[in-house]
Amino acid sequence: MSELTLQERGTAASVRLEWGLVALGIAALIAAPFFIYPIFVMKMLCFALFACAFNLLLGYTGLLSFGHATFFGGAAYFCAYAVKAWGWPPEAGILLGMGGAALLGLVMGFLAIRRQGIYFAMITLALAQMFYFFCVQAPFTEGEDGIQGVPRGILFGILDLNVTMNMYYVVLAIFLIGVFAIWRIVNSPFGMILRSIRENENRAISLGYSVGRYKLAAFVMSAALAGLAGATKAIVFQFATLTDVTWQMSGEVILMNLLGGIGTMVGPVVGAGLVVGLENTLATSGFPVTIATGLIFMVCVLIFRRGIVGEIYARWLGPAADGGDKG
């Protein structure tokens, strides 16, 4: 499994570079809505958080889930329904979406961790498809139409989210909190055990760790954070539809990671930005998005497995930043 994660932090230079990029990135994001269409940046932020949540599982635990759309789209449905039908405030809706995603993650993870590697990917894909069929049939999702016209509401009873700038900075705050949480998890003792499972599962077992529990915990956390991203997206765009629970969406989040750099903190954010940007560009050009994403997938796997950020680390920061890709 270790080869999926070609990068390892650790050299002083790479740490300095990451912090520099992070500071620059945050500054850029605070200024962004004054220069770029804020709705577009919010979309990027939601997908970036989704991609980071996915990276917690793939990059740091070595588990390839092909079913993360379930948590992203499922949370969007829960949040949209609670806010629209029950009149819940947005913060409660988002928390419910997160909780629902965590619960779905618990069930899916419990089943999927019984097999490893390629089977794990297939099981998560199949269970996600099952959830998709459930969403098609269940009355509360309103079928093909999806839940439309979700009110943005007033956050904590004081901040009116119908004002675009308010909404933007709330989304930015959620994104930063989410990414910070992932960073804390990854660099905690718990995160170190996750990495040891990624590197050598049998070794971790022989050291006495109940690997299954750690995998499940990572799966649930990743699901909850993906849910946070999905629920936030439902509030921003004021709808939740079937698109977000399809297997294509699960593929898209993998692509964001692969393109940006699996196992790097910044990679998924870069990947998400590029994929969302590309889709926006293609949407008006008439060139089919699936062909473009498919081609990027193939090229990345064949010649560009480190991803953009991983490639930068490997080229400019010396062999220590290189996990040793022999393929």
Binding site: L111, L125, A126, M298
Partner: protein, 295 residues
């Protein structure tokens, strides 16, 4: 009218037949996946796309060249198999030394591209493919009416599955293949051209998918999306059966088709879900799969 559990027996048999047809395709596709996985250690996500490609090549041959069903039955597997071999040589062969998950991701991308191209040119609507004249009509079996073509599909898939099983278990080529699955380096040392064997294996798997596609063309509509939904069900089938055994893949395929048909009779709302539910139950009770030996 005879009834079983309050269901007319005709309806029951009718759904069982539909289930058997679906099961035939599950069996052929999971067989191809198992053959490819056995040697290449790659899960071929593009299997559904190759199946769709087979159906489409058959359709295009008929519409643009006037080549009918029977020649297509030979030409389509050859074309798809050749396509598969080119892909294996050009790309997949570079991925054997790295994590098998990359093979899954590459073939996923390939599936998106193939599907995207056909969607771009032919839209998402289905195109009907007429049943060949020889197999038009149906036979009254006394207890039910059997459309001839459907009977043919079941028969043909059985022949294909048993033929492939015999090829792998009983022939010299098959013995090389099984040996290479166990230990490729050693087989290579004995003078067997393993890279060629890998290419042929992927070609065989692709040809099986293409053949399933042309067989499916008159049953379902020929559409760019016909493969992608099917492949996920086939993945579930493969998880249930375990990929350790070729025979296991075949038997599981038919069984799950029948289970789906039965569900359609008794609880239609769940017929989409039943394969996945069975997968979950099998994972709880027997994580290695019904016929699985690998962990």
């Amino acid at each position: 009218m005879t009834m079983i559990f309050g269901i007319p027996i005709q309806a029951l048999l009718g759904q069982l037949l539909v289930g058997l047809i679906n099961g035939s395709f599950y069996a052929m596709l999971s067989l191809g996946l198992a053959v490819i996985f056995g040697l290449l250690r790659i899960i071929n996500f593009a299997h559904g796309a190759l199946y769709m490609l087979g159906a489409f090549i058959g359709y295009l041959l008929l519409v643009h060249v006037g080549i009918g069903y029977w020649p297509a039955l030979v030409l389509v597997p050859l074309a798809v198999g050749l396509f598969g071999m080119v892909v294996e040589r050009a790309a997949l062969s570079r991925l054997y030394r790295i994590d098998p998950l990359y093979g899954l991701l590459f073939t996923f991308g390939m599936a998106l591209v193939i599907e995207g191209v056909f969607r771009f040119y032919y839209g998402v609507s289905g195109n009907p493919y007429a049943v060949p004249a020889l197999l038009a009509g149906g036979t009254n079996l006394g207890f039910m009416f059997l459309p001839n073509y459907r009977g043919w599909v079941v028969l043909a898939s059985l022949v294909v599955c048993i033929g492939t099983w015999l090829l792998i278990e009983k022939t010299r080529l098959g013995s090389y293949l099984r040996a290479a699955t166990e230990n490729p380096e050693l087989v290579q040392a004995f003078g067997v051209n393993v890279p060629l064997l890998l290419t042929l294996t992927y070609g065989l798997g692709a040809a099986l998918a293409g053949l399933a596609g042309i067989l499916a063309a008159p049953v379902y509509q020929v559409s760019p999306l016909m493969g992608s939904d099917l492949i996920i069900v086939v993945f579930a089938v493969v998880v249930i059966g375990g990929m350790g055994s070729i025979l296991g893949a075949i038997v599981t395929g038919y069984m799950l088709g029948l289970a789906e048909g039965l569900t359609k009779v008794f609880y239609p709302e769940a017929s989409n879900l039943v394969v996945f539910v069975i997968m979950a139950i099998v994972l709880l009770l027997r994580p290695a799969g019904l016929f699985g030996r690998d962990a």
